[in-house]
Symmetry: C2
Subunit: 280 residues, 2 copies
Amino acid sequence: MTIEASSARGFLIPIGGAERKRKSPTILRKFVDVCGGTEARIAIIPTASKLDTTGPSYETVFERLGAARSRSVPFATRKDCHNEEWLDVLRDSTGIFITGGSQLRLSRTIGGTPAAHELRSLYRSGVHIAGTSAGASYMSEHMIAFGDAGASPVTHMVAMAPGIGLTSDFTIDQHFRERDRLGRLLTVLAYNPFIIGMGLDEDTAAFIGPHGILEVVGSGSCTLVDGSELEYASIGHQPGDPVSLLGVKLHILLPGSHFDIKSREATPALEGVDREVQEL
Amino acid sequence: MTIEASSARGFLIPIGGAERKRKSPTILRKFVDVCGGTEARIAIIPTASKLDTTGPSYETVFERLGAARSRSVPFATRKDCHNEEWLDVLRDSTGIFITGGSQLRLSRTIGGTPAAHELRSLYRSGVHIAGTSAGASYMSEHMIAFGDAGASPVTHMVAMAPGIGLTSDFTIDQHFRERDRLGRLLTVLAYNPFIIGMGLDEDTAAFIGPHGILEVVGSGSCTLVDGSELEYASIGHQPGDPVSLLGVKLHILLPGSHFDIKSREATPALEGVDREVQEL
């Protein structure tokens, strides 16, 4: 599965949080497969989490899924991000997994350090990078730092910050359906419609391939809001002022669906036996 | 404002509920203006409400706004809907106002009676009809009877019922932002994309003119979900199964914005002094 490793970027795999780890761990198993299966060497970055157990616990998960090596590199301070031994662990990996927690802790700790440099450079040279929850948000160049719940966009409902910049196509939001986050994703679109807003439900991942084709994997849905045909946007001055958007394109993709970043075309999943599918 | 009364339909005016009645009653004042201002004769249908005070309370509101006549016709049973004296009140009106409460009480009580027949026929001949909350929902041919909250569409989250059918272009939902109803409106779209889903916030109205141009009035926003370019929709079998939609067009219209039903084109409000507006 790493056939493109030498010639192209790796897979970028944002996950909406709360992915299954024991029973039917579809997403994590596919991540290990993409990274080489029994030859996979996974590095785990647990920096977003306050818990010392997060890194070791993912080590166990990836070992159980058959990875050849699974090792946590617990960058906790900016000084840690210069630790050559840990950077070598990253350099020796076929896949890197960024855990959940706080995306601002990630950006504050890693931003501008050799660890950030390595992550970007390894991804460009074919290493696959997955991140869940905060780890998914952090992947974006323009990252959602925090915000309010609600379906409707409202002025000042979302705060943005610079992420690590593995993608500038998407701003990624997570726990999407569970925490009711469409409003804040639409607010991001009103700031700058060139971005595609991606909202990932829990236990749902987007496997973004090196050629810009995204596949949805897991048990929930992936909501995309595309501003490329936006005719108009306005934002108020006061917090709580409504936001106006004319011409947003919205897709709700189920597992197995695809989206082509270049053409902005969405393709449904193949018909399942237990679903009633209408071709329009 | 009733210049088109003899040649065309009246205005259809769904309101998202909780419209202002004393301070800045923008929507109700405009309704009275459209109905003829000091010559307006308003009939009130309080059938949706359980409270005996609803009809008389709106009588006072419309009198205070300068209507020449304001009278409640409290159809409470199907037999009431044959009461010729009350039907004459409808026939003698320039505008009819349907209050909030339960839309199923409206459809159960009025559906198929002479009162329903009069409402449709008066609207076609130029009488203006406003309805708030349940009264707005009831206007649709395909009405939302009830449903669950949430931003994401989910199988079985919405129950539909036949409304009075003053419009088959729109299925109308109300208290939209306040009760988080985008998910159920998108679910309706997945049932049949020919409908435009309209979600009205509280104190927000759509003034739909006889020639199919809609203007947003009030203090909130009007969300439209347009399935005319939908590429794909699927619905699950079990309650809670996710719904997939590819290619929904979404508009969030602020007061002063317009939407043309025929061309499906949205136009923003003119620039306000206190808003930062970006032309894209």
